[in-house]
């Protein structure tokens, strides 16, 4: 390991791509966590009715996800978005937003690598976005 003592102390410049990624990550993660708390409060308070009644959950969460979803007509993939006005699906949407955060961050840094013509990094970023988008698309279903 090459160690270099530097007179610059802790004045180290954070790379621009890293700085931009961190900023988007910070604000979108905060928004996501706030949304989770808000929607969960709505869910538990009963202000809006859920798809699956809370008192029925203890009978259902012992079964696998396919059986539970089938019992209440909740489709896999993005089908649950049809029920977005139900409180449990709102809470699920907030959790789903968290999974969107890395895609947003990758999209933010892509123009930096394009501008710098860093082709290897451009390739990695585009491939990662494609993989995350494929996972998010709902095409990869488990029967």
């Amino acid at each position: 390991m090459e160690k270099t003592a530097s007179s610059t102390g802790q004045n180290i410049e954070t790379p621009i791509d890293q700085k931009k990624y961190a900023t988007v990550l910070k604000w979108s993660a905060r928004f996501g966590l706030f949304s989770i708390l808000l929607t969960f409060f709505i869910y538990l308070s009963g202000l809006i009715s859920p798809v699956i009644p809370l008192d029925k959950l203890p009978r259902l969460w012992v079964k696998n996800s396919a059986l539970l979803n089938e019992s209440f007509g909740i489709s896999t993939g993005w089908g649950w978005m049809n029920l977005i006005f139900k409180s449990d699906m709102m809470a699920k949407a907030a959790l789903t937003f968290l999974a969107f955060v890395p895609i947003l961050c990758y999209l933010t840094v892509l123009p930096i690598y394009i501008k710098k013509k860093e082709f290897a990094m451009i390739f990695i970023v585009i491939l990662e976005i494609s993989i995350l988008a494929l996972a998010a698309s709902g095409f990869l279903k488990v029967e």
Binding site: M1, E2, K3, T4, A5, S6, G9, Q10, I12, T14, D17, Q18, K19, Y21, A22, T23, L25, K26, A29, G32, I36, L37, T39, L44, L54, D55, L57, P58, R59, W61, V62, K63, N64, S65, A66, L68, I74, T76, D88, A91, K92, L95, T96, L98, A99, V101, P102, I103, V109, A120, M121, I124, L127, E128, I131, L132, A135, G138, V142, E143
Partner: protein, 322 residues
């Protein structure tokens, strides 16, 4: 100082009572789906999210004190002691690891402790394999998942017991992949009061190992900090601080890929995931404050014992012995 110690003692005692009188009986009651349903229905619904919150709060403290990710503790313990199906436990486990990683990420990146360039290629490989792992995990019957999870947990205990970490590994030769991608960096080492330049080696071996780690993380919904740090530090030769921080940040990308599979297959229930996420995050904050008051070595041993018990019970439950 004394009041903080009393608080730790009180909380430990409370967690012990909670564990012995509430969780353990359910572990034995949840031998099959009918018994699990009886256990689950016999208690008012709101007790479950509340106990999840309390349990995850304690887990968050322990995880920080023991220096392991919360995700690796969450799935085996929750899967053993709560009546939820493994699909929902793994879905919640990924959300817990993801939320923790997302909230820690910005600080680690801004202080140059986590490296974006180091993580991106590793995350790409681990994302692909974690999606594959998630699909395999959801397709397998619950008893097979329990047996495999138990074996993986016992293997993790072995890794935790035997792996040695190196503060500043020696780099003999910087490899081609690292040169092309510009993977190197500099950070301020507060203990030495100077800037440390770092670089890596063996990227090709690291990429292969991250494929394996991603698959296991996706299949069992485990955060993969236990393995990421070892690969970054011992194989790639990144300094320990960079390895720990980059591992934490990497989870936010790899767990996302697997989380999407669980979300799209309806395996993330807000009633299980949200109290777990909030409890774990608050517990981690308390854990950081208590870090100075406790002996991490003892906590680490306790965690290894707890994990071993959970691993063994998971195997026994998989074989329907308990």
């Amino acid at each position: 100082m004394n009041s903080s110690k009393n608080l730790v003692l009180f909380f430990s005692f409370f967690m012990f009572l909670f564990f012995v009188f509430f969780l353990v009986p359910h572990a034995f009651a949840a031998k099959d789906i009918i018994l699990a349903e009886e256990t689950s229905v016999g208690i008012p619904w709101w007790i479950w999210p509340l106990s999840l919150f309390v349990f995850c709060f304690g887990l968050g403290i322990v995880a920080v004190l023991a220096g392991v990710g919360g995700g690796v503790l969450f799935v085996p313990i929750l899967g053993t002691f709560f009546p939820f199906h493994m699909d929902f436990v793994r879905g919640a486990g990924l959300m817990v690891a993801l939320a923790g990683s997302l909230s820690a990420g910005p600080g680690l990146l801004m202080r140059n402790l986590a490296s974006l360039r180091l993580c991106m290629p590793m995350a790409l490989i681990a994302s692909i394999s974690s999606i594959m792992g998630a699909m395999v995990g959801l397709a397998l019957p619950q008893n097979i998942v329990r047996i495999a999870l138990g074996l993986v947990i016992l293997a993790i205990c072995f890794v935790l017991l035997t792996s040695k970490r190196s503060e500043f590994p020696e780099i003999t030769k910087r490899d081609k992949i690292a040169q092309i991608l510009g993977i190197h960096g500099i950070y301020y080492e507060i203990t030495q009061r100077k800037n440390i330049n770092w670089q890596i080696q063996n990227s090709h071996i690291g990429l292969l190992l991250f494929f394996l780690v991603g698959f296991i993380a996706g299949m069992f919904g485990l955060g993969a900090g236990w393995a990421n740090v070892a690969v970054f530090n011992l194989v790639l030769g990144a300094p320990l601080k960079i390895s720990v921080a980059s591992s934490n940040f990497l989870l936010s990308i790899t767990d996302t890929s697997a989380a999407w599979i669980y979300l799209n297959n309806g395996a993330v229930l807000p009633i299980i995931a949200v109290p777990s996420v909030v409890g774990m995050m608050l517990g981690s904050q308390v854990g950081v404050r208590l870090l100075a008051l406790t002996k991490p070595r003892i906590v680490r041993w306790l965690v290894i014992i707890l994990l071993s018990v959970s691993g063994l019970m998971s195997i026994l439950k998989g074989f329907a012995i308990i």
